[in-house]
């Protein structure tokens, strides 16, 4: 019943986002809100990003994080939330043909 087994505080994106906020950082939260086909991360998954481009969590298992981070930095600047859509059918994303053909929608918003 140790905390680490049930809520991994050191790696949990929402716990990290709260810590960043307490440290006075500007933070954006990206959330997978919809998936079609075989998407690598389930609906509800988070990536949290600070204004310097540091990030924790994942919305796609590595495929589109780069794009989400750069959009998130814009969202931190403007304060306006964005809805992003990605196809995951990228041949370079997977070596053995897994998860091809999926699509995801990611909602990116500023914290506060």
């Amino acid at each position: 019943m140790s905390d680490s087994l049930y809520l991994d505080e050191a790696r949990d994106p929402l716990i990290i986002a709260e810590g960043w906020m307490k440290d006075g950082k500007d933070v954006a939260i990206a959330t997978v809100v919809e998936t079609w086909g075989s998407a690598p991360r389930p609906v509800g998954s988070h990536l949290v990003i600070d204004a310097e481009g540091n990030f924790h969590g994942s919305v796609s298992g590595g495929c589109v994080e780069g794009a989400v981070v750069s959009e998130a930095i814009d969202v931190i600047g403007s304060g306006k939330a964005r809805m992003l859509e990605f196809g995951v059918a990228d041949e370079t994303a997977w070596q053995v043909g897994l998860s091809c053909g999926g699509r995801i929608r990611v909602y990116v918003e500023r914290l506060g």
Binding site: L7, M21, V33, P42, V43, E109, G112
Partner: protein
């Protein structure tokens, strides 16, 4: 996201309580809904469904689109008794996504040799549960057959509204147990929540088969939370 909503959500998650973050995707406003909070209309129906399934998703209601992010504590299984059944149950429960812990003060039973890779407490349930209380997202299976060990844990599980409470023993054994639990102050309504004889009736004969029956009943109880009074997490 509202910073207050984030703080509230994380506090609920740390306390192992279910919560849903409801975000209006039109204007970005959000709020936290706790299990048991009353929400009217189609949104309320969708929220109730998300609490049961644990699945997040979008819903159209009142002409708006809401995203419901369901945060349910990870269900876990506490087994009282480091017995043969528990040896089979431990790996099966882990594979099924129900991390398991075993409590048994009998040090001859609760040995790492018999339970490799299992969180094992060779202590009395009273001591372990005081440190690490049970909750509505915990299942408890009491399988020692020994009232000195099982009874306290069963009463604690009923008081904590564990989503599943099972106790090994025949109907005759259970009838005596009911008397003892009444004497400990459990209500008849609480006692009716105990699954005894334990496990789904699949005709289990061996310890491993009984473990399958217990695990199946635990999963059924978890997936049907809130669907009937007996399974209510309350």
């Amino acid at each position: 996201m509202d910073p207050y909503a984030l703080k509230t959500l994380n506090a609920e998650r740390r306390a192992r309580r279910a919560a849903i973050l409801v975000t209006d995707l039109g204007d970005g406003r959000d709020r936290i809904v706790r299990e048991g909070d009353q929400v009217a209309g189609d949104l309320g129906t969708a929220i109730a469904k998300a609490f049961r399934s644990g699945n997040s998703g979008s819903v159209e209601a009142e002409g708006r689109t809401f995203f419901l992010n369901a945060h349910l504590p990870r269900p876990r299984l506490v087994v009282i008794g480091a017995v043969h059944i528990s040896q089979a149950l431990a790996p099966m429960a882990r594979i099924s996504g129900y991390p398991l812990e075993i409590i048994d003060p009998r040090t001859a039973f609760a040995t790492p040799d018999r339970f490799p890779d299992v969180t094992l407490h060779a202590e009395w349930p009273q001591d372990v549960l005081e440190r690490q209380p049970l909750d509505a997202y915990t299942a408890l299976a009491a399988v020692t057959h020994d009232p000195k060990i099982d009874d306290f844990a069963l009463k604690a599980a009923l008081d904590a509204s564990c989503f599943y409470v099972g106790a090994l023993g025949s109907r005759k054994t259970h009838a005596k147990r009911v008397e003892r639990l009444l004497a400990l102050g459990a209500s008849a309504e609480q006692i009716a929540r105990i699954h005894a004889p334990i496990g789904l009736d699949i005709g289990a004969a061996s310890p491993a088969e009984i473990a399958v029956a217990i695990l199946a009943q635990t999963i059924l109880a978890f997936r049907s939370r809130g669907l009937d009074a007996k399974g209510a997490a309350a």
